[in-house]
Amino acid sequence: MTSIANRSMRFPYRIEVIPRLEKVPRWMPPLVSLGAVVTALVIGGIILAAVGGNPFATYAHIARASFGGLGVFSDTLVKATPLLLVGLACSIAFRMRLWNIGAEGQFMIGAFGASIVVLIPLLPETTPRPIMLLVMAIFGMAAGALWGLVPGLLKAKLNVNEIITTLMMNYIAVSWNYFFIFAVWSEGGFEMSKVFPKTAWLPRLSEYASQVPIFRGLTTHLGLVFGLVAAAVVWLIMYRSKWGYEIRLIGDNARAAEYAGIPIVRNTVLVMMLSGGLAGLAGMSEISGVVHRLQGNISPGYGFTGIIVAWLAKLNPFAVILVSILFGSLILAGREIQPSGIPKLIQGIILFTIIASDVLLRYRIRIVRVQEEA
């Protein structure tokens, strides 16, 4: 015990952590999140400076490259679109404390599901565009939902850890897609399918440039609208529906939910399917709105970034919109700076500070002077 006494003599202050018993004021959670992002940028800046970069110039460049004009902002939105859908997918699963980290695989399989409509083909190239796109969206979602169904069933029926199963199924999904793009649908031996017919392309703003000149060259596509509608729907489900109430109750206290007669097994499966379906829709939107073919490397880890997006948004569907735009800009501008290193680093630090900042909401931290013990 003597050593503790010695130590306290050297440090006359000590940090006291008291659990908060009262409700935190409304303004506090968003402010703490903002503070966490700022802290992350400061830490990132220090690292940038340490490796010889100029943090101010870097951040200014990121801002310019992603928000500096209509064109680049439109590109930011294109990057934000898959993040938005995947972020929603994660937030709905996380709300029920189902740790779906398989959004990446569900995204891939969603892209595959949408592709089969065009590549098998299930519908002829001459199908009217709205019907083609609708069928592709449905197939994409269904494929993603199927990819969520498997771990969902395993979790619900056999209590298999969903973290492991969803993670492992990511690799299966990637390999599955590679099999088709390298072999079955390979175009000239390259790892990509043929380009989809125009009827399978999600409309872009630039298509309407003849009517609205300002849209010229803007690549933002209909997938963004999917994402915005999905955010509203997820919000409605979560906070205004009986089902959402069940999900929130299970997430907060599964035993209480059981006591209230809520079927946990069924909800586990359904939520995993909805989560997978949203991620699958993101995959469809990406191939139909951006690359217009099934190919490798359609995701720079959208499925994993979606996890960060969901947490940063505190699982709130509308906050997911804002956060996905922020992360879209990091992905876009990141490429301007460095293909991989720094932007990923900043993302990682942001996740770290966000999770750490939760302590501030749950505890009151005080620094008190140590009383000398008699």
Partner: protein, 542 residues
């Protein structure tokens, strides 16, 4: 861990290989002496001027009902709490125990009811955990041998190399005891050690305890089971409501009857006016059900019980005799393995809470926080738990938030739930307020059958009275109520009949207050006595 205390914390060699130098004489010197010890918790005098003398080499039972202060008293001795008044002496020297580490240094070790072991590590690793030695190299085989020697010496047979998860509950308990012995404990406090054990394991434990006293150890054995106390202890101290009702009674010179009386006590009741009851038709009919507890041991073994309309049936019994499992079986939270439960002439679907709710069964769960509420959701969300499926709270597939909030505000006012607003998360409510919330939710559903498990546990006097009035009002409105409680006062004040549960079945029913009989039934003595016709109790065995 403080690096300054490496030496002197314990001297392993002395314990393991050392002389049995402890004096074998009994009576001269007390291993532990507690005098006038007081411990106050907010609103409760948990331990009220308690004296306790533990002789060297004896097994001393500490007997009392739940909440009598047994555990608090022992936590004082184990250094977890500090007493407000009174002194604790160890072998005649006054001791000021500031922490469990302090207590173990002075040779006092406590084996808690819930084990603190690392499942993936071996017995030896668990025993060494937290010690300053070995320092860097584990040299496990050497320590395995020491542990083996120690376990042999005390008859605590367990393989030092076995991983904890491979061991039975009884063996895990031996590891906990070994942990304390290895740390040099001369006084062992066993907190309800038999609660988790199967009957054969209990026998083994008792043999071990006796062999330890032969080696000079002194043991405090906390229990509320009379039979076990009579079987294993040398002397017994009885606590009731924080006070000693019998100090250091010689077990040989007492009887279970006397101990039961000392433990349960006799006192004038505070009674609420109760109208004469007119029971109607049978609402709940339980026929010979069996069910397992969470550990897979049989908790209900052939239990039968009926509850009628407009009647409160009290269920008396010592905790852990199947009450929790019974409440869960009736409300669909637990599957039964045999028998049937009939509610309103309809067979209950096994293990389905939703059917139970639809059949009008309300449940006030024993564990308000862990089962009865969602801590981070707000009052409205907690109040609509049972009626969110129907109008007016539901509207089609949606929840009508306005209607839900209006309804919740009404309930909050009517039942006097004190909280800043209906947006307040449930975890911020006090125990009494949370219980009112749960009662309000369950009662407004106008249940046919209400299963109330420990509805007043931990509440203050005013709150208890409120809960009692609500229950009686429900009875008068025609509900059938099964009241599960450990408070005999409460049971006799409210119930029209009291059934007694022991080891998973009903041993008898009483219509009038007879504490002596209840005490005997609760402790399993009733069966062993000759079945003389003894009014007003009647057996339901037929």
């Amino acid at each position: 861990m403080c690096p300054g205390t490496i030496s002197g914390t314990l001297d392993v060699s002395r314990i393991v290989f050392g002389e049995t130098g402890m004096s074998q004489s009994v009576g001269k010197e007390y291993a532990i002496e507690m005098q006038g010890v007081v411990k106050q918790f907010p609103g409760v005098l948990a331990v009220d001027h308690v004296d306790l003398q533990l002789r060297q080499g004896e097994i001393h039972a500490l007997l009392g009902e739940n909440g009598a202060g047994k555990s608090t008293l022992m936590n004082l001795l184990a250094g977890l709490y500090r007493p407000e008044h009174g002194t604790i002496s160890i072998k005649g020297d006054p001791a000021h125990l500031r922490s469990p580490r302090d207590a173990i240094k002075r040779g006092i070790g406590m084996v808690h009811q819930h084990f603190m072991l690392v499942p993936s590590q071996t017995v030896t690793e668990n025993i060494l955990l937290g010690l300053d030695e070995p320092r860097f190299l584990m040299r496990l085989s050497e320590y395995d041998q020491r542990v083996a020697k120690l376990s042999e010496r005390f008859g605590l047979i367990v393989d030092p190399k076995a991983k904890i998860w491979q061991l039975s509950v009884g063996e895990q308990q031996r590891v906990e005891i070994l942990k304390m012995l290895y740390r040099g404990a001369d006084v062992l406090i066993m907190d309800e050690p038999t609660a988790v054990l199967a009957p054969q394991e209990i026998e083994e434990l008792f043999r071990t305890l006796r062999s330890m006293t032969r080696e000079g150890k002194s043991i405090i054995f906390i229990s509320h089971k009379l039979r076990e106390v009579m079987q294993v202890a040398d002397r017994v101290t009885v606590l009731r409501k924080g006070q000693v009702t019998a100090a250091g009674l010689d077990v040989a010179s007492t009887s279970t009857d006397e101990l039961a009386r000392l433990m349960v006590g006799r006192q004038v009741l505070f009674r609420i006016e109760k109208t004469p009851h007119q029971p109607g038709k049978v609402v709940l009919n339980i026929e010979n059900i069996h069910a397992d507890n969470d550990k897979g041991l049989e908790a209900l073994s052939g239990l039968s019980l009926q509850v009628r309309e407009g009647e409160i049936v009290g269920l008396a019994g010592i905790a852990g005799n199947g009450q929790t499992e019974l409440a869960e079986a009736i409300t669909g939270l637990r599957c039964i393995t045999a028998g049937r439960i009939v509610v309103q002439d309809e067979d209950m679907e096994n293990g389905c809470t939703l059917t139970a709710i639809r059949q009008g069964i309300a449940h006030i769960p024993e564990d308000r926080a862990a089962v009865g509420s969602a801590p981070n959701l707000n009052l409205t969300d907690n109040l609509i738990m049972k009626n969110y499926r129907h109008e007016p709270v539901a509207r089609g597939w949606t929840i009508n938030q306005t209607a839900a909030n209006t309804w919740a505000s009404g309930i909050k006012q009517e039942y006097d739930i004190i909280a800043p607003s209906i947006e307040t998360p449930a975890r911020l409510l006090s125990g009494g307020n949370l219980q009112r919330l749960i009662l309000a939710r369950e009662i407004t559903a106008q249940p046919q059958l209400l299963v109330a498990a420990q509805p007043t546990r931990g509440l203050d006097v005013g709150a208890i009275e409120g809960v009692h009035r609500l229950l009686l009002a429900q009875r008068d409105a025609g509900a059938a109520i099964l009241l599960i409680s450990e408070e005999l006062d409460e049971l006799f004040a409210l119930s029209d009949r009291v059934a007694v549960i022991y080891e998973g079945h009903i041993v008898g029913e009483l219509e009038q207050e007879d504490r002596e009989t209840v005490g005997l039934m609760m402790t399993g003595q009733w069966q062993q006595e000759p079945r003389e016709p003894r009014e007003p109790a009647r057996s339901t065995a037929a």
